[in-house]
Amino acid sequence: MELRKLLVETAKVFDKLRIKYVLIGGYAGILYNSPYTTADIDFVVVSESVTLQLVEDLKRIDWIPTEEYKDLEELRAFGQFYFKDYGYPLHILPHAAGYSLEKSVRISVTEIDGYEVKVCSLEDLIIMRLAVWTDEDKMKAAALYLANKPDLKYMEERAKEEKVLSRLHWLQKEITKSQS
């Protein structure tokens, strides 16, 4: 199965089960024109909306769970699957560093192969990179910043909430420095 189709089919499973989700990580980055490839698909969900039916429905589209997930709380804490054909991993998280769906975050909707997939906002994606702050994350945050026009007001607000404002200012300084 093509990666795009796999992504859409996975989003369809979430929607069918009324699980509130957003795509984050490298895949979301690609949808915001990031030049970096990724080794997995990451979703943040509202964990209370997750049921064990998710495991069965994901199995139907060839996602193999790495655990048995007999306990709902285990699945809600962290769900990991891999794709039968590629061994490609899928992560389902209740929150990520610098991000949670319980907060009033912006969600974008992107059409992939005619299906609307919910994706975290560009600004939140940058904030998540700043929250992790490895060299790789800084680079990816800069690429996202350069490839798009982030909403600076919203990004500052979110950076304050996630306590990464000084990191955002550092990134902005690095970008401005190169433009002068």
């Binding site: 061994g87 800069a142 350069l146």
Partner: protein, 52 residues
Amino acid sequence: MKVKSSKGLDIEKIKRKVEERKRISNEAFLDMMGSLIELKKNGVKKTSSRNR
């Protein structure tokens, strides 16, 4: 474990990558990534059959 550092960024290099990426649509980029994964998978298979 990934190392954290206060090293500066090579913004020019990132800019070049961003510009190159702009020439490719998201769909084409995802398809390209899918092909790379498949290639990697097939490569692993070949190695294991050679070992048998």
